[in-house]
């Protein structure tokens, strides 16, 4: 409990830093805070409302406090393009993006850890090195390009998967048919999205587990007659898991950026298209809100990763007892 509290408290300065950064950007923007907060093509009437709402005629410090107040109460302004609150627009699109990000993350993490272990098998070192080489190359492939190639090959060429979108519009059905249809649309985007992360997880798992396999406890396990694959899984991997999980959790911002690109290629109706249309429409309030939301999500992801630590590593649980 104390551990949890400490972690949450540590988020606060970062959160304030991000709000301060956006505030600074709003004021440094060429059109001034008024344009940044209301959008480039807003009406004069709306601009007056914004001026009053954010106290733009008051001293800077007061403006800052007002702005922080608005953000903390979840009031991220109005998107003039969607004629809706920014938070509502973002929350409306978020599920589609999470539908892509979460399966992708689970897939790349589990498969990456498994592949990382496979590369360490003594029985087949060539396959191991082959996987590492392939994964290092995959790390250099931009997600949106692999997405284009996947579409060319499997959707257009072979016709196995739909080319674009999230649902088949002609399919009226509910229930199982709709779920299967969604899954069918999801296959290629998830592959394109998770390839990059799969590469990273594989390589990191390999290097971390190999380090653990040099430790005396690993030799002890072998000496007591445990076969190597089991020892690797049960002993080395368990000890290597902490840095691996840290790495995955710390990448959520990059993952969301990747999701934006992959969504654009596949016409997936998530945050990606929202970001693109918002910047083409010069919908500044929406972009500011998106940045704040995604920063908050990054922080939450870091927090969740931290909360996993005591589950993975009993020493952290013990440490908490000792401290309390």
């Amino acid at each position: 409990m104390r551990y949890l509290l400490r972690r949450v408290l540590q988020l606060i300065p970062t959160l304030f830093g991000i709000v301060t950064l956006t505030f600074a950007l709003i004021h440094a923007a060429p059109g001034g805070p008024l344009v940044a907060l209301s959008g480039e093509f807003s009406t004069a009437e709306y601009q007056r409302t914004i001026e009053a709402l954010y106290g733009l005629d008051r001293p800077l410090l007061e403006q800052y406090l007002l702005y922080v107040g608005h953000v903390l109460t979840g009031d991220l302004g109005q998107s003039y393009f969607y004629k809706q609150g920014v938070l509502a627009v973002v929350l409306d699109r978020l599920p589609a993006t999470l539908l892509l990000v979460i399966p992708g993350l689970v897939l790349s993490s589990l498969l990456g850890i498994w592949l990382g272990l496979v590369t360490l098998r003594r029985s087949d070192p060539a396959a191991g090195l082959g996987i590492v080489a392939g994964m290092s190359a995959a790390y250099a492939v931009p997600m949106f390009w692999s997405a284009q190639l996947l579409i060319l090959l499997f959707a257009y060429g072979l016709g196995w998967f739909p080319i674009q979108g999230m649902r088949n519009a002609r399919l009226e059905g509910q229930g199982l048919a709709a779920v299967l249809d969604l899954a069918h649309h999801l296959v290629l985007p998830v592959i394109a999205f998770s390839l990059h992360d799969l590469a990273l997880t594989t390589v990191v798992t390999r290097s971390r587990v190999r380090d653990e396999m040099q430790r005396p406890y690993f030799l002890t396990a072998l000496a007591k007659g445990l076969d190597e694959p089991t020892a690797r899984r049960r002993h080395a991997l368990r000890n290597a898991l902490l840095p691996i999980v840290t790495l995955i959790g710390g990448r959520i911002g990059y993952l969301l950026a990747g999701a934006v690109l992959v969504e654009t290629v596949f016409g997936w109706p998530g945050l990606g298209r929202l970001v693109v249309s918002a910047s083409l429409n010069r919908d500044y309030p929406l972009l500011l809100g998106l940045f704040l939301c995604i920063s908050a999500m990054t922080l939450i992801a870091n927090l969740l990763t931290d909360l996993l630590y005591p589950l993975i590593d009993p020493r952290i649980r013990q440490g908490e007892h000792a401290a309390a």
């Binding site: 923007a29 290092s136 931009p142 390009w145 060319l152 390589v203 990448r251 690109l261």
Partner: protein, 286 residues
């Protein structure tokens, strides 16, 4: 949680990738062959960036042939919807990519080493404050910050480079600081101090060279990350409209994906080859 601090962010993955210390998978002989392979992969982009205007005559935005020509001897990468030569565009795009990667890497390296070394040498509370700031810039979602800045301040390459540099130095600072902490009790440093050398001189002569060596492989990752991000931004149509870029080419390819596969394949290959080459070269150059 030292471990967590040491591992945060994707830039740190580079430390692991770079310092795994195993013989490189491509090469039986180890690092030399990987270094050569990297240099070979990187050379087309470097040559294009340096000699671009000489090799690929003319404006890459100008149409020179009928649209949608398949790759042929006259146009090895084919032509696009406006009859522009794709190979010429790819050659011109190299300059944008390498400029982004290079400038971001140099700026991040300078800032990272400066902050990391000062943090390592300062009193604990300054060290702590500097590391908090470092951590902050590592946590900020850089891609979305880049989109925001480009929308507010205009989509010039300079703006993009500024954002990327601002969000890239954190990992380098951490490594540099760790290096300083391990170096500052070394004999050469203690001796230099004992002889009365000024701390700044000690830092510059004895610490920075060592710190640089351990930071350089990570700088390759910063550069390739910047190249990939620039490509991503241009792919979304948020790149610098006055510069030819691989991402812009892939954005254009998207609309004609089923009509002209070559519009997508060649610029994409250019990115992969360059990023991979960069990783191999600097990874092995320690």
């Amino acid at each position: 949680m030292r471990l967590r601090d040491a591992m945060r962010g994707s830039a740190e993955a580079g430390i692991i990738l770079a310092s795994s210390g195993e013989p490189h998978p491509w090469s039986g002989a180890g690092r030399d062959r990987a270094l050569w392979l990297g240099a070979i992969l990187l050379s087309p982009a470097v040559l294009s960036a340096l000699l671009g205007p000489v090799i690929a005559l003319g404006d890459p935005f100008a149409g020179v042939a009928p649209p949608f020509l398949t790759p042929s001897y006259a146009h090895p990468f084919g032509t696009d919807d406006l009859g522009r030569d794709v190979m010429s565009a790819v050659i011109h795009g190299a300059r944008t990519s390498l400029l982004t990667g290079g400038v971001v890497a140099v700026l991040a390296l300078a800032a990272g080493v400066a902050v990391g070394c000062s943090a390592g040498f300062s009193r604990p509370w300054i060290d702590d404050a500097l590391m908090r700031v470092t951590e902050f810039f590592q946590v900020v979602p850089r891609f979305f910050l880049a989109i925001l800045v480009v929308a507010l301040f205009g989509n010039s390459l300079a703006n993009l480079i500024a954002v990327l540099a601002l969000t890239s130095w954190g990992g380098l600072a951490r490594v540099a600081r760790a290096e300083v902490l391990s170096l500052r009790e070394r004999d050469c440093v203690v001796a230099a101090r004992a002889m009365g050398a000024h701390p700044v001189r000690v830092t510059l002569r004895h610490i920075v060279p060592h710190a640089l060596a351990s930071v350089l492989p990570l700088t390759a990752l910063v550069a390739s990350g910047a190249i990939l991000t620039e490509a991503g931004m241009s792919y979304l149509g948020l790149g610098d409209p006055n510069l030819m870029s691989w991402g812009y080419l892939l954005n254009n390819a998207q609309r004609f994906l089923f009509r002209a596969w070559w519009l997508s394949v060649f610029p994409g290959l250019a990115i992969v080859v360059t990023v991979l080459g960069l990783a191999l070269v600097l990874d092995r150059s320690k």
